[in-house]
């Protein structure tokens, strides 16, 4: 049996983790950097980390993930990595010729204290090319923090306010979501008639089409010119506080672009808020096309609500996704009883509030009591479920051990999903994304009901 979790809950004070629900900052930074057009992410550290990050992203997206590494040796870790990074920058531009290199650190280079801005300043950078960086110590925060830090890094290097009056355009920071979600966010913004810059934008990079050629730099990604231009926008919408707020706040500080923090638009309410924010900005009625989609979603919710009502659900994954999901499952009449993220609430150096408080507030309003935890691990989640069983588990691939041990239906959402394909192409955000979530959830529940039904209860129409 793949179940090594005892039911009895004892306080664990060591601070060690068993079966983590997060991973380290650099991979988030790498993912964000892939959302810049013709950018090569560069991992300043030993080659192992870079290899792991690429492998993990490759398994999730099933696309080639390119990134270079400083390839640390023992010497560099004693004498510092300045020489490695300078050589690396030179080699990367000559061999791989990107427009921009986005350097992130690793626990190693953070610990030995390499001073990236100074090293970059003294590096040989060809005319017209750029090098940016983000500090991503893996002993703080999580992959979400790393994503946020790289977004901030790009903004602090590139964004500039060059016009006396702001342009009629809105910046959208989508958060650590799949390209399928980013496409949906763009589609909605387009329908709303908003001129927008989505950054980062990994569509067309990690879901690039088959062409018979290997493209080191596929067509997608936010261009450098667009990132520069974010400083001239009228507004920034930060979707998801943990992954996007810091970048938006920096734009506000640096370029006086007002920031509006919203939830990742999962479910009716959060999508409404996103659409309304765009409406206010674009001063335009919501087009029928979107109204129709919303109406369809609500129609589906009413058609199926009896499948969901009172069902107990456990959720885990990244904080921004969980906030949206919690609100959404509540709207379906489900009862989220365990909600856990591995990302520490209010990551160091940011002004973010606590994940636990956010979620608790939603639950209190809905009259639900639940176990909620930031900085947790799946061992804890499993123990909770053993003590208070659920009807459904929603989370990343790593939930499959729990789902199997406890024999509960399982819906895969979030990062990473390593054992199913196509998931990154379709959204969970927007009205369409909500429809897809409902389909996934109800299929999981009804398949289970069919499987378990006695002959006499086995029904054709459900």
């Amino acid at each position: 049996m793949l179940d090594a979790t005892p039911k009895e809950i004892k306080v664990r004070s060591s601070g060690g983790l068993i079966n983590p629900a997060k991973t380290c900052q650099p991979i988030g930074a790498m993912y964000a950097a892939l959302g810049i057009h013709k950018c090569l992410p560069h991992s300043h550290g030993s080659q192992g980390c870079c290899s792991y990050h690429r492998m993990h992203l490759t398994r999730h997206f099933r696309d080639p993930i390119m990134a270079s590494t400083s390839s640390f040796t023992e010497g560099s870790s004693v004498f510092g990595g300045a020489a490695n990074l300078k050589t690396a920058i030179k080699n990367v531009f000559t061999i791989y010729n990107p427009d921009i290199i986005a350097v992130h650190t690793t626990c190693l280079t953070e610990t030995i204290g390499d001073d990236l801005p100074t090293i970059i300043k003294s590096a040989e950078i060809p005319e017209g090319k750029l090098v940016i960086h983000a500090n991503t110590p893996s002993y703080q925060g999580s992959h979400i923090t790393g994503f946020s830090n790289m977004v901030k890094g790009a903004i602090s290097y590139l964004a500039e306010s060059t016009m006396p009056v702001k342009k009629d355009q809105v910046n959208i920071i989508p958060g650590f979501v799949n390209p399928g979600d980013m496409r949906e966010i763009k589609r909605i913004a387009k329908i709303m008639g908003a001129k927008f810059i989505l950054f980062p934008d990994t569509t067309g990079v990690v879901d690039s089409p088959m062409t018979g050629k290997f493209e080191m730099y596929p067509k997608g990604g936010t261009t450098i010119a667009e990132i520069k231009d974010t400083g001239n926008s009228k507004l920034t919408l930060a979707l998801g506080r943990f992954a996007s707020s810091d970048g938006a706040e920096l734009l506000e500080k640096k370029c006086k672009v007002p920031a509006l923090a919203l939830k990742t638009p999962i479910g009716v309410k959060a999508t409404d808020e996103f659409v309304m924010a765009l409406r206010r900005f674009a001063v335009r009625e919501v087009p029928y096309e979107l109204e129709e989609e919303r109406g369809q979603l609500v129609d589906i919710m009413t058609d199926t609500h009896f499948h969901f009502h009172g069902k107990k659900v456990a959720l885990f994954g990244d904080p921004d996704i969980l906030t949206g999901l919690t609100e959404f499952v509540l709207s379906l009449g489900m009862v989220p009883v365990h909600i856990l993220t591995g990302t520490p609430g209010g990551a160091i150096g940011s002004g973010m509030g606590s994940f636990e408080e956010d979620i608790q507030e939603m639950l209190t309003n809905a009259g639900v009591t639940a176990n909620v935890k930031g900085n947790g691990d799946l061992f804890t989640l499993h123990q909770w479920i053993k003590n208070d069983p659920v009807d459904l588990l929603i989370g990343t691939t790593y939930g499959k051990y729990i789902a199997r041990a406890e024999d509960i239906p399982f819906v895969r959402v979030g990062f990473p999903v390593l054992d199913r394909s196509v998931h990154s192409y379709f959204p969970i955000v927007g009205y369409r994304g909500a429809m897809r979530l409902i389909e996934m959830i109800s299929n999981a529940l009804l398949d289970r009901q069919d499987r378990d039904a006695a002959d006499e209860d086995f029904e054709l129409v459900m």
Partner: protein, 457 residues
């Protein structure tokens, strides 16, 4: 000038058979700034030790190194599943500044209480190497406190590449196998080194050997446990399948316990038969030899026709190989020959000079041989050499697909056992299922064929 120079540096790592017998540069550090497909010391150590099923594998470091290695290797277990959990000390800023030893101690205490393991491996990661935690001392203390084995694995990522990790793992294994009191030698008993029981491969080889009357004493490390490893020094022979990771261990076992070793390979019909014969000869027992011949004859009779049928379907197809170790590359060249496919490009991440020599001798004229390749080089040579199929690992898969090239995972992600006679059939089946899939027929751009590597119907 820069371009030329940077590329020239890489050129030393690439050779073409037939042009000149240059010795390939390998076993060197990757160039800074390369998109290297290589992994780190920790990775090497972890993949070797991870299949020890009832051990707690505790990663001392920040969360990443532990997250990425959580249950990634498809090593099967017939007993404990403890190794499939992920344990990390999750070092935080505070620990980095003040040292991680106290946290490590607490984590060990907690894990011992929860799981009562007999064996704990504590892996050091890059950061631990820098902050200078004394792993050895902490482990020693914990071992004494609980009367179990707590073994530090010196695997800070920056001290070398994957091969250094293999060595670190073997050093750790040597500590486990050291018997409390000297064991008496078992007759007709061997240890099987370098099989990680991916998709149950070690089980297949074990069944062959048991059939001919040879006892498989311990496997390093597929489906092994603390108790089986503790018996390891009782065997009278070591056979090594994956040389990359296990040569070092075999040498040590020979030095310290005078157990001789021989190199084997169970990839492909030919190598499997040769290896079984060599093992039987070693023991020199007439009955074992007779039974071995009978087994080989029986298996070949049933597998040859199948392999030959596939061979007919593959004529004219060319393969590229890019794998971790040199030894596997050698076996693959031979195995591809068996099914009628020419290998036109061979590369490894960490092949050793002797292995590259063998590859060079074995390869056809014009075959490109390269060490520590980056994706653009793989692309360049696969296209240039007209490869239809790539054998590689996780990161190479989507690269091949994007080029319209079929792919086989010969690494952690393999789904079927590829060892032994049955493995040879599985291998041919896998080659067929990817090479002859109809999906390649859709690789055209509203009419024209995009790269023409795969003949369309």
């Amino acid at each position: 000038m820069d371009t030329a120079q940077a590329i020239k540096e890489r050129e030393l790592f690439i050779a073409t058979k037939g042009k000149q017998k240059t010795s390939l540069k390998c076993d060197a550090d990757s160039i800074a700034g390369c998109v290297s497909q290589r992994a780190c010391v920790y990775c090497g150590a972890r993949v070797v030790l991870n299949p020890i099923t009832d051990a707690v594998h505790l990663v001392h470091g920040p969360i990443g190194c532990a997250s990425y290695t959580w249950d990634i290797r498809g090593s099967l277990s017939s007993g404990s599943e403890l190794y499939r959990n992920s344990f990390s000390t999750d070092l935080k800023e505070h620990d980095v500044i003040f040292g991680g030893e106290p946290k490590l101690k607490r984590a060990i205490d907690e894990l011992v209480e929860k799981y009562q393991p007999k064996l704990i491996f504590v892996y050091s990661t890059c950061i631990v190497g820098v902050i200078g935690d004394d792993l050895e001392a902490v482990c020693k203390q914990a071992a004494a406190k609980y009367n179990i084995e707590v073994i530090p694995v010196q695997s800070s990522g920056f001290i070398g590449n994957k091969s250094a990790g293999y060595r670190a793992a073997c050093d750790a294994i040597m500590r486990v196998v050291t018997p409390r009191k000297r064991l008496s030698r078992k007759v007709n008993s061997l240890n099987y080194l370098g099989d990680f029981n991916l998709a149950g491969e070690a089980w297949i080889i074990r069944s062959y050997l048991e059939e001919v009357g040879i006892d498989v004493n311990a496997v390093f490390t597929g489906d092994s446990s603390y108790d089986t490893l503790k018996q390891a020094t009782a065997a009278s022979l070591n056979i090594i399948q994956c040389a990359g990771s296990m040569n070092y261990l075999a040498k040590k076992l020979q030095e310290e316990y005078s157990i001789p070793y021989i190199q084997v390979s169970f990839l492909g019909l030919e190598d499997t038969a040769i290896s079984l014969r060599r093992i039987a000869e070693f023991f020199g027992d007439a009955e074992i030899i007779a039974k071995t011949e009978a087994l080989i004859e029986r298996e070949l009779a049933s597998t040859r026709p199948v392999i030959d049928r596939y061979k007919g379907m593959f004529s004219g197809k060319k393969a590229a190989v890019y794998v971790g170790g040199g030894f596997k590359a050698i076996s693959l060249i031979k195995q591809f020959r068996e099914i009628g496919i020419d290998v036109v490009m061979v590369g490894t991440q960490t092949g050793r000079p002797e292995e590259y020599d063998t590859i060079h001798d074995l390869a056809d004229e014009g075959t490109v041989i390269l060490d520590d390749a980056n994706p653009s080089e793989l692309e360049r040579f696969m296209t240039q050499q007209g490869a239809h199929l790539l054998v590689g690992g996780v990161k190479e898969r989507p690269l091949a697909y994007k080029l319209g090239i079929a792919f086989i995972d010969h690494n952690h992600d393999r789904k079927h056992p590829l060892s032994g006679f049955v493995g040879a059939i599985n291998f041919a089946k896998e080659v067929h299922s990817t090479l002859c899939s109809p999906v390649w027929d859709y690789m055209y751009d509203f009419g024209g064929d995009l790269n023409g590597t795969i003949a369309k119907v």
